[in-house]
């Protein structure tokens, strides 16, 4: 059984505009993704492609006007989308750990970090305060926070960004989750700290055998730390496969563009053009969503592209995947 099985997940922004028209932005269009234990999947794509929205849809953390309008998310065979808030609460923070983008503003500014670690542990387990406390200190040690006994009573505002991110990782791991979702875990951190955090994350993921989703727009991170990669464009996963396969032989024109636009190549002036705007989510084109910015686009692209599995095992959503 897959750890996580996302089928045809659709999330839309639904509201009425000032002229009383019902407007619907189709932000996620039939996202499909499978994840096994011990696997690290990177989700990449440009801003607005729906990466974070996918994570929020999985955990039921969407805020109106965003809402899931179709599909299914099976976690260990359980349908998450139909769970009540209280039942979801038993899973979030326990079986699914989350690391978010802004560690300093995400921690509760009025609670000492040790108490926050104890709180998340006691919320999900019946353990005594002393047990939770020693577990918290052990976990702070594990994520590389120096002097955990002393830092236990530190306030969030006293931490550096990197330290706060380590605390968030410790929070996520306190209850030994089976699935870890890291949403841009290193955005805004120094490059050296980034590397430390990701190394740590990879190390812990292997140790605890968690399934992990890392959301990022940095292909370098994917290449170094992930087993598989899902490329998102306009709320769709256009290509999915192992990192080795996709980086060696990208099947989707958009992936090719993306790989061609890494900083090294930009410097060498070899970058393929990544021109054009992402499609208007209110007004998606018929057929392939990337037709407007694809050099291969032809009349065929007006019809929805098939999902083609290449011989390497990677899946590509494109008419021309086999060419």
């Amino acid at each position: 059984m897959n750890l996580l099985k996302i089928t045809d997940l659709q999330t839309h922004f639904v509201f009425h505009d000032i002229d009383n028209y019902r407007r619907e932005a189709r932000a996620l269009n039939k996202v499909n993704l499978n994840l096994n234990r011990g696997e690290i999947v990177g989700i990449v794509g440009e801003t607005g492609a729906g990466k974070s929205l996918t994570a929020q849809s999985i955990c039921g953390l969407l805020r109106p006007p965003a809402k899931v309008v179709g599909g299914s998310v099976l976690f260990l065979g359980k349908e998450l989308l139909s769970l009540a808030e209280e039942d979801l609460n038993d899973i979030r923070g326990a079986e699914i750990g989350m690391v978010v983008q802004n560690p300093k503003s995400s921690l509760d500014p009025l609670t000492r970090i040790g108490d926050q670690l104890v709180r998340i542990h006691q919320t999900h387990t019946a353990s005594a305060i002393s047990v939770a406390r020693s577990k918290a200190i052990a976990m702070m040690h594990a994520v590389g926070i120096p002097d955990p006994e002393k830092r236990f009573s530190a306030w969030p505002h006293e931490l550096s960004g990197g330290m706060a991110q380590r605390v968030l990782i410790a929070m996520a791991l306190m209850n030994e989750p089976k699935l870890l979702i890291a949403d841009e875990p290193t955005t805004g951190l120094d490059v050296t700290v980034q590397a430390q955090i990701l190394e740590l994350l990879k190390d812990l993921v292997r140790r605890f055998e968690m399934g992990t989703i890392i959301i990022t727009h940095d292909l370098g991170i994917v290449a170094h730390y992930c087993d598989k990669v899902a490329v998102m464009f306009a709320g769709e996963i256009v290509e999915y496969g192992t990192v080795t396969d996709i980086f060696r032989r990208p099947g989707h024109p958009y992936t090719k563009q993306l790989l061609a636009s890494t900083p090294e190549k930009l410097k060498l002036n070899e970058a393929g053009s990544l021109g054009g705007q992402p499609p208007d989510l209110f007004n998606l084109p018929e057929g392939c969503l990337s037709q407007d910015r694809c050099s291969l686009a032809s009349d065929q692209c007006r019809t929805p592209p098939p999902v083609i599995t290449l011989e390497t095992g990677q899946t590509v959503r494109c008419h021309f995947a086999l060419q």
Partner: protein
């Protein structure tokens, strides 16, 4: 930070009268005065000096606690103000206390289910509270509870004329009466307090509800609460987090709101003939007793500054991010 503010406050109260169309000389001299008498009075009052010198003289007097003499009561303004301040503080304390005790929980509850039925209803009620003229509300209360039902005493003063007031301890007849176990006095003080306090509470609760709701909604939409949800914390814990993170802005808001409420309270005092600073000040304004008006406006401004300082201290104590900790 506070010092320039204080100088500014003194300056505004000074200008209030000097630049106004009213001529104190004409008032004092009367219609039959001769030109020599006019210059005499001008000299006496120091009005022949340049404006900046007059301001310095006035400022110097204020620092020494000399606010001049009221021509209505023929007594030093400072004396009038100090005795009446306690009378007003009693009303202010209970009124705003009750207003906050109603407004904060209601605002929080409305924010937990935005656009729910409770939210919609409290929203209309609080907007109505914004719109009711305080003095009219007081009059309606007197009509209903004094004239129609006979439950409340007439709106005159803060204790029945038949009851001798208790010894001065805190300045509040209610508390002082309880302290010396003078049940009759305490009871009479309480019945006199209820209507004006209710009036002030209603008027102060409306903005507190609205602002508490807005603050709590902001906190609910913050990264902190979204992350707390991602941690699967129980709804009760989430609410506690929202409440504690809203506390600082709410306290700050209530502090700034007190400034405006002091003005509102003056009107309530006026309607209920409360005899406090507010009534004194309004009478002074209406009758053109400008020495007293200056003293009154100055006192209110100083009181606001004092409240701001207290708020800063309270926030510094409860905020781990502040320098104090």
């Amino acid at each position: 930070m506070v010092l320039p503010l204080l100088i500014g406050v003194v300056f505004v109260t000074f200008m209030l009268v000097r630049v106004g169309g009213l001529d104190p000389v004409g008032l004092l001299a009367g219609p039959t005065a001769t030109a020599e008498e006019f210059t005499m009075i001008r000299k006496d009052l120091g009005l022949d000096q340049p404006l900046w010198k007059q301001f310095l003289i006035y400022g110097g007097q204020v620092i020494q606690g000399d606010l001049g003499e009221s021509w209505l009561s023929n007594r030093p303004v400072l004396e009038d103000i100090t005795t009446r301040s306690f009378i007003s503080l009693e009303l202010l304390f209970w009124g705003i206390g009750l207003g906050a005790a109603i407004g904060i929980p209601v605002g929080l509850r409305a924010a937990f289910k935005p656009n729910g039925r409770f939210d919609q209803v409290t929203r209309i009620i609080s907007l109505l509270g914004f719109s009711i003229p305080t003095y009219w509300l007081g009059l309606v209360m007197l009509f209903v509870f004094f004239y129609l039902l006979g439950w409340a005493p007439p709106g005159m003063g803060r204790i029945s004329l038949m009851v001798s007031p208790p010894q001065f301890v805190t300045g509040s007849y209610l508390i002082d009466g309880l302290i010396e176990a003078n049940w009759e006095a305490a009871n009479s003080a309480l019945t006199h307090l209820i209507l004006p306090v209710l009036c002030l509470a209603i008027v102060s609760a409306a903005p507190i509800i609205k602002q508490t709701r807005a603050i709590a909604l902001e906190v609910i939409a913050s990264d902190t609460v979204r992350y707390a949800r991602a941690c699967g914390l129980k709804i009760k814990t989430l609410r506690a987090i929202v409440f504690r993170n809203s506390a600082t802005p709410i306290i700050t808001f209530v502090g700034t709101e007190i400034t405006g409420l002091v003005g509102t309270m003056s009107l309530i005092e006026y309607v209920f003939a409360w005899g406090g600073l507010g009534q004194y000040g309004l009478n002074a304004i209406v009758r053109g007793d400008f020495t007293a008006v200056q003293g009154y406006v100055l006192t209110l401004a100083l009181f606001s500054v004092l409240i701001f300082l207290i708020v800063d201290i309270v926030v510094a104590i409860i905020e781990p991010r502040s320098q104090l900790n």
